[in-house]
Amino acid sequence: MDQEAKIKLSHQIMIISGIFSLFVASLLLFNFWHMYKNDPVESKALKAMVEQLSSDPGNEELITEIRNYDLLARKAYFTSVWQVNTGSYLLLFGGLIFALALRINTDLRKKITKPEGSNEKLFPARIKAHRWLLVSGGVIIALSLWAGFGSKNYLKSYSPQEIAALPDEGIEVVQIVEESSPNAIDPETIPETNEAQNEELTEQPESPANPDARVNKIHFGFEDFRKNHNTFRGPFGQGISFHKNIPTNWDATSGKNIRWKVATSKPGYNSPVIWNDKIFISGADKTTRMVSCFNRNNGQLIWEHEVKDIPGSPATPPKTTDDTGLAAPTMAVDGYFVYAIFGTGDIIAFDLDGKRIWARNIGVPVNHYGHSSSLMVWKNKLIVQYDTGKGGRMLALNTETGEAVWDIKRDNLISWSSPVLADVKGKIQIITSADPNVAGYDIETGKELWKIACMMGEVAPSPGYYNGMVYATNEYAILAAIDPSVPSILWENDEYLAEVSSPVAANGILIVATSYGVLVAYDAMTGDKYWEHEFSNGFYSSPMIADGKVYIIDMGGITHIISADKTGKIIGQPELGEDGFALPAFAEGRIYLRTNTSLYCIEEE
């Protein structure tokens, strides 16, 4: 065979084996695609037939059909397995022949050429190489730096409190208490005495007779707070309720799902707070100020006391606007006492049975709308954010006596926002928002831990706290997501800004409500917008998240209930028929709403 013939032959073999391989490969691909499209092992058609059978168990015809289909499906599956196996061997064989033929073909056709010699100059080539190496090194370093600075270590923002598994609400959790009494030697007496002692400990008397005993009392923790609704915007003021089965449907005019409704004696924009079976509100008009306690199961008034005879209290209350009033701040309850602050600068504490414990005035506020910042309580400290025309100030009062534990000056202007508590790595921080600083304070000492200047104007929205991040906003300023550990602004946005309503974040989303009726949700971490809704009435009240839903009442008294996720589906828009400014308070299966004249309890039947 001469050279030409060899070349020709190898060429032909090459083409034939090439076409063969391509053919086998496409068959294989087709097989893969077919299997992907309809997996015979988990056939949908078969499933449907079996489902049909369950509703008609005696259908012999259907049974035969299923059996036949199942046989076919399994045949198809095993045929396909066989096809894949055989196909890959054929492809390997074809590929080998092709490579060999191609190789021989090119070898045969290769003409002996005169070595061209290197036409590359040594030094310029090396200069070029060094330049490109520099570029590669630079690119790697730049990429790593970019990746390093661009990614946040979320492990650090983990705080156990938020992730802890929740027992279903309404279930009391009891831990086994070991015998601890040292004098429990006599086995006869162990059970009874110990039980008695421990029961006393766990039940914790609500009104200790002896004031000295109170000093050693066990303070309720966050776990207890979240079983209740003890402050403005729920436990810690974070806007998240842990209660479940919250109603989504009611109608005040027809009385649908309204468990009870009572008239309040005095108006007030504050929101109700709950401890166990008691619900508390405050109210005020030009002359009198009042704290009321209702049975939250039936709406019965348990006690109501006028707030008076407080040393330092002004004879004529300061001027306030109609949309603030003297009872705008929400009360706080810690399981022992309930605390209220009024636009006069009066703070009063009652025990849960209505006994007055202490009262004082911390100075009449210079405030052209009226004082509105709500109280927070933790352990033995009652936190008062008291930013007035005289400047920023914050106090922690001893819950037993009302004396100041600390009283600090803050370098910010007057504000109307409320403090928020947050458990940051096991330590409780107070987070506040005012012009110009969003700041965090150590609750024990009042020491400023961090601050970042990003607010301006008359700040009324309280900050939101979620997952280690702080969210602050105000109209004409920005919406800022702040990482307090640095501190730095992770992202900001100025598309929708709240005037009064406070932002809330949970489930990875951040909700902001504006006074012109827009409700918008962002990704809490990145600030990407998920959804927005525009409603005809504006929002002064703040959104709360409960049971996976956003609850917010607008100025027309319509409660908008929206799923707290990326979809933002509207679940319900029940009406009260009265203007709504206060926030709802949640309990298991119930929602409590307060208007200027009434208190509602809503429960789905």
Binding site: D168, I171, V174, Q175, I176, I190, P191, N198, E199
Partner: protein
């Protein structure tokens, strides 16, 4: 193709390969791996009509770091046994007694005079101070004791390993045994594929024994003769499913049965004749494929369920509205 063109092509292919590797590496993570195409799905059977659920969970007693195996409720106290202890706990969580056992306790029964604990192969009797009064072992190697009951001063010991019920006096004297086999019908006797074999004595002094392999609850007299039974086999809420259910039973004061199932864990109430009356807890309340909780009832018909998977005693009370 020119040499330069080829070089560019080569570099381009290399870049594409690196790109594919990086994209595949980054893309293959917990967020986009997808679900299980071969999921074993019993979801449709897990849904329970809420109107059937007449009970509400009101209290949990967290057991902490122990491995419980069985419990009894007697006069307001919880008797609980497991690896390797027997404890008495008040309803408020105060531990009143703690006896350590050499082996794991499996079942416990409390009466005024004593506390009886069943180990795998041994019966122990304690007084209420925790002092061991008596103990004995049935003399077979395959014994596996799962339940205890007392009727007319006879102590019935369920031996799941040998598919029989042993009878003793409370002093430990052997009185006899029976395997549930009956001549009058074609019942096979006890079929016990797994160590779940429960007995209970109701207010009317009737001994009811579960035949789990048959999905049946059977009534025996103290001689061990079958007097009656009912069975209910279904994946749906009306029946029992799996190879050995109901795993645990208890009785209410009116004679109705509280049953607890494994696999699809659910606690239900059946009338004495075997009609489903209501549901205490639907499967959604328990871990998937969980162990059947031990169920007991106190004098007020409050249902106590020992949830092994979550290590909780869960208290269910009848909803007030019903």
């Amino acid at each position: 193709m020119s040499k330069k063109g080829l070089s560019i092509l080569i570099v381009a292919i290399i870049v594409v390969i690196i790109g594919i590797i990086i994209i595949d590496f980054i893309g293959n993570n917990a967020l986009n791996r997808g679900g299980n195409p071969y999921e074993y799905n019993v979801d449709e059977y897990k849904e329970v009509d809420p109107s059937l659920i007449h009970y509400k969970e009101t209290k949990n007693i967290a057991l902490g770091d122990i491995i419980p195996r069985g419990m009894d409720i007697f006069k307001g106290d919880i008797y609980i046994t497991g690896e390797n202890f027997l404890k008495v706990i008040g309803i408020h969580g105060v531990q009143k007694l703690n006896i350590s056992l050499e082996e794991s306790g499996i079942c416990v029964l409390a009466r005024d005079e004593f506390i009886i604990a069943g180990l795998e192969q041994e019966v122990l009797i304690f007084d209420h101070m925790g002092k061991l009064i008596n103990s004995w072992k049935p003399d077979t190697e395959t014994t596996y004791i799962t339940s205890l009951a007392i009727l007319n001063n006879i102590l019935f010991v369920a031996d799941a390993g040998n598919r029989r019920v042993l009878k003793y006096t409370t002093e430990g004297n052997y009185l006899g045994e029976f395997e549930g086999k009956s001549e009058s019908d074609d019942q096979h006797g006890f079929i016990i594929p797994s160590p779940h074999f429960d007995m209970v004595v109701n207010e009317f002094d009737e001994l009811w024994i579960v035949n789990p392999g048959k999905h049946a609850i059977e009534n025996y007299n103290e001689k061990g003769e079958l007097r009656g039974f009912w069975a209910s086999s279904s994946m749906n809420i009306e029946g029992f499913t799996g190879c050995c259910n109901p795993a645990e039973i208890a009785v209410l004061s009116n004679g109705s049965f509280v049953t607890s199932e494994k696999g699809m864990v659910r606690i239900k109430i059946y009338s004495q004749s075997g009609e489903l009356e209501s549901v205490v807890a639907a499967p959604e309340k328990f871990q998937e494929e969980g162990t059947a909780p031990d169920v007991k009832v106190d004098e007020n018909d409050v249902v106590y369920a020992l949830d092994f998977d979550r290590k909780l005693i869960r208290v269910f009370e009848k909803k007030l509205s019903e």
